[in-house]
Symmetry: C2
Subunit: 442 residues, 2 copies
Amino acid sequence: MPRPTPLSGFPEWLPAERIVELQVIERLRRTFEMWGFAPLETRAVEPLDQLLRKGEIDKEVYVLRRLQADPDDEGDAGLALHYDLTVPFARYVLERSGHLQFPFKRYQIQRCWRGERPQEGRYREFTQADLDVVGAGDLPFHYEAELPLVVFEAMDGLPLPPLRMQVNNRKVSQGFFRSLGLEDLGGVLRLVDKLDKIGPDRVGDALQAEAGASPAQAKAVLEFADIRAEDSSVAERVLRLGGDDPMLSEGLAELVRVVETARQNAPGRLVADLRIARGLDYYTGTVYETQLVGHEDLGSVCSGGRYDNLASSGDDRYPGVGLSVGVTRLLSRVFSKGLVTASRKVPTCVLVALPAEERRTECDQVAAGLRRRGVAAEVAPAPDKYGKQIRYADRRGIPFVWFPQDDGTHEVRDIRSGEQVPADPDSWMPPGADLHPSLTPS
Amino acid sequence: MPRPTPLSGFPEWLPAERIVELQVIERLRRTFEMWGFAPLETRAVEPLDQLLRKGEIDKEVYVLRRLQADPDDEGDAGLALHYDLTVPFARYVLERSGHLQFPFKRYQIQRCWRGERPQEGRYREFTQADLDVVGAGDLPFHYEAELPLVVFEAMDGLPLPPLRMQVNNRKVSQGFFRSLGLEDLGGVLRLVDKLDKIGPDRVGDALQAEAGASPAQAKAVLEFADIRAEDSSVAERVLRLGGDDPMLSEGLAELVRVVETARQNAPGRLVADLRIARGLDYYTGTVYETQLVGHEDLGSVCSGGRYDNLASSGDDRYPGVGLSVGVTRLLSRVFSKGLVTASRKVPTCVLVALPAEERRTECDQVAAGLRRRGVAAEVAPAPDKYGKQIRYADRRGIPFVWFPQDDGTHEVRDIRSGEQVPADPDSWMPPGADLHPSLTPS
């Protein structure tokens, strides 16, 4: 076969990069579990009509077809790959509600697919790490203030630039727009969402041309969308613009609680930013977006919000709130800018050198003893000259090479310093920092 | 929306089952890493022509199509979901060979898709855990004896029925058939592969009718395929049937080494079984299949073999050997027969009870302190009566409920025994066995 080439939009990492990705995912997983979120995965496919139910992204969906579909077996007709983990989770909750305990807290780390035109940070196949809480019938508000803390705690354990989260609340936006006398609340929200792309002048014009706003209303909307604050002053600034609406009051109280909770527990990480709208139409309360500081051009690396109506069937409603970390987007920037590197390309801590093929069993036993103590170890592939065996370790970043001596004793060399010392195969341990590959910011 | 129903062939686990699956995957991952296998994932899609290159399963492949494909962007036309992890790995090795160090040892735990008719142990979406070693140009034989030990070590750490692996070698089968004077070696192999399904009588007939065997040749093939041995006697038994062929001799020496290595390191786990053929046509040396003892009807839960020609381009050849654990197949049986259960449905070890909503901050601090010591903890969703809060814990299997007292002291109750004792929020730790969910054989 001819040598294959990469497929645009379907990133694949090298082993050293996968080590970084795994440690990021493990950190997220452990933190989510510390906060009591249960692990979950859903199938990769959903019925197409379910995926299209929420509109907006129909052209980006990948539909499946069996190469030789069997007309008498339609069990997998009309299936498509999921484009996020929220819609499948809502479906799962409805399907399995009788087996779940509510409020149900789960995390889900899986790949998603969208047929978008690829660019940095935007892929056709990508991994998301989601956490959500859903209630049966109702869901206490405090989870909306808690979720950002979970993500901050997870990411603070990684050698990455800090996060900065922008938060708004749909009730604040819609309540304010309504209090101005505007009617097309969805249309106004969609135009506000374009502020970063097309700027305030064109949004102001569009508010008048497309959303029925007067010049004064458009001006008020732009002033509103310009408000940013890291504390309860956000509410005072909105009320100073006028506006009197029960939904606005409720939303402001919620927004203040989210901002103040973050200010006490993770100061400097979260800001109320009233231009945040989020494209997807199922949010009903708090909405979140997150920048990696210094890499704002990458777009949001952690987004989500409160949704009251995503999972409902007849009289059963399961309101929820969720956040989704864009693992692939984050890592694409980490790798393209070399922000973090793994200390080695393999898990191996010790390469046991092989003096002669006849001595493989003896070498295997040394390696097995190391593994029993939790030290990743492998034996050299062949009894090459020691220079070549050391190169095997060096190219992979394996820090130690173990030499069985002819007299039955053993020595181990730190190939970074060249220091070689006698070692007991039944008790030797590497320094803790060398036990596993580590991540270093660069 | 109407309440959704499951899709046949696309299994989804409940959270308590996902806890079991995660612990199985973590055990595999850790063991693979202890032996020096590097982590890797590949994209879920391959060009269709690559997947069809190895024939045989073309009707089972899922092809992708964007719902509204863009005629000027054909970057994702002709893509299909991978049906195993070996073919994508071979493609990855060819594509990235300049960035890899050989011999290259990697593991890969990912989902695969096949449009097969679903039945127990056979799914349309399933997770495989693969480990492979590939060399550049050549690959030392000893890895073929080593891989089974890695899998045995991984699975021995889990509370599951033991594995029993059957091993053969393509060189043994083909060398023996050739020494008999048979010519259609592939045809004979495919018929031997049907022994378990259609029995020796019908295979004997077919050998004569379809593969050009004489009655004596067919009898010799059946006698050969009946040989099973756990030690080097396998070679003597084959040679007693006659047969003199250099490929046969080489294969027998290899087979004996695989069997003897297992006998010394994992006695009773591996048997030479000369009826093992493996359907896929790319194997060239050792082939493996594995039964879960007492669940042989499930089919093989760990298969693989040596392949010399899967990854090659021009003069560059990357021979390899691999094993693939069928995680979903294994777990489907674990769950349908209740072989293993998780001690709880959530990671949470401690539920901090909430005396009143005004005291949430104080309770959050208790939970945060527990988490800092590695104890998964969450605060009750609402200040309900304590009976209801204890039920929240009980339904999820959370073992401890923490009660902040009105006088500033604290107590913790083991809700399994009902014992409630004073506890210091800055130092209390649960018994080690309760720290994380554990798996129990049932």
